[in-house]
Symmetry: C2
Subunit: 225 residues, 2 copies
């Protein structure tokens, strides 16, 4: 019984890491669909979001059942209670990847990205992947060494988000209001994607340290001291 | 002991309803700060978000402690596990109100809202208040009669969101790209605010009915049958 319990707790982390991989791949594909004006790829991301959602519900059920049947306390209780909230964040990250892909589809066969913003979105796509890869690693290993990295990447994402504002508001922008709005919303999807990763990593810090979630900052990794 | 336990469960719902009231008032004040170009009001919303966050953490602690000490099952376990997720949604709704207020501050002393979009934002503000009022009522009474209403208001919010797109993309828009971007982001904040309310109401349906959250639609209130 004890072994089943431990392996259920293990599975929660493993499935959360699987969700990371899925949403990372979805965001990467969504980015590529914009770059290459690839409708098929966009459709694959949109259809694939159901799998992300299904995995989220599997995790939620597992957390609920462990809580109901095993009455965990301390770290184990934090795993099941935070697990549900991490699955919510990851589900939302999947939605954001889907939103990006839908923008490719909406403008198809036109490109959604004017040439001058393409390098920034390429960078945002790469960053999104790096962030979820590190987030998955933090979830599975509970090694918090990578946590400040995730925060740093989030700041890089914010900088790119601001760079895009400067471009669409700059004097040389000649793609009109519709394109400016597209870029603004797309950029916000990447920025929110990174925010959710930070939230997830903070929840892992909470699981490991027991520190209240609200007071956890990834700026100064003093939980490591 | 049993009485303490029941009153703790009660308190979770009451505090969630309090959060509804707080974020509803915040969104209402934020809307008014835009309409009246009122910096002081905007600052009050921004500062007040800390209270919303503090209440969220109080709810989270309460949920955690009830789970750890009382080992609830069935409906009671759903209350504590969903309670934490509802507090996350409400915290996010508070952030969205703060984002609106920050936009007032950013453009101050200029108005952020050109005259032709003001009536729509006024309507969005009213709708946001109505939605959280009904959401609070659903949380406290667990009477699901109001649940389809919340979904209907969410659809109205989506319609207003689309109306704003049509205005900023229309031929008579002459306020430039920056203002179009402001309107787009602001409009999205209201739209997301309503989405979160729908999520919360779906969680109450889950608590009451035990139906898996994923399959709950507020479109056809068959849980009422």
């Amino acid at each position: 019984m004890r072994e089943v319990y431990q392996s259920e707790l293990e599975l929660i982390s493993q499935e959360l890491a699987q969700m990371c991989t899925k949403v990372g791949r979805a965001m990467s594909m969504a980015t590529r669909s914009m770059m290459d004006v690839d409708l098929q790829l966009a459709e694959a991301v949109i259809a694939g979001d159901e799998e992300v959602d299904a995995l989220a519900h599997e995790i939620d059920d597992r957390c609920f059942n462990v809580a109901a049947q095993q009455q965990p306390v301390a770290t184990d209780l934090r795993i099941v209670m935070s697990g549900m909230r991490m699955s919510s964040s990851l589900e939302r990250m999947g939605d954001l990847a889907k939103h990006v892909a839908k923008q490719t589809r909406l403008r198809y066969p036109k490109t959604v990205l004017p040439p001058e913003v393409q390098p920034i979105f390429a960078e945002m796509g790469t960053l999104a992947e790096v962030i979820v890869t590190k987030t998955a690693s933090v979830i599975v290993t509970r090694d918090l060494d990578l946590a400040p990295d995730v925060k740093r990447h989030d700041r890089e994402m914010n900088r790119l988000h601001r760079d895009l504002f400067n471009i669409v508001l700059g004097p040389s922008w000649d793609h009109g209001v519709e394109s400016a709005i597209d870029i603004t919303l797309l950029s916000r999807f990447y920025e929110r994607f990174a925010d959710h990763a930070v939230t997830i990593v903070r929840r892992v810090v909470h699981i490991v340290s027991g520190e209240p979630y609200a007071t956890i900052s990834l700026e100064f990794p003093d939980w490591d001291a």
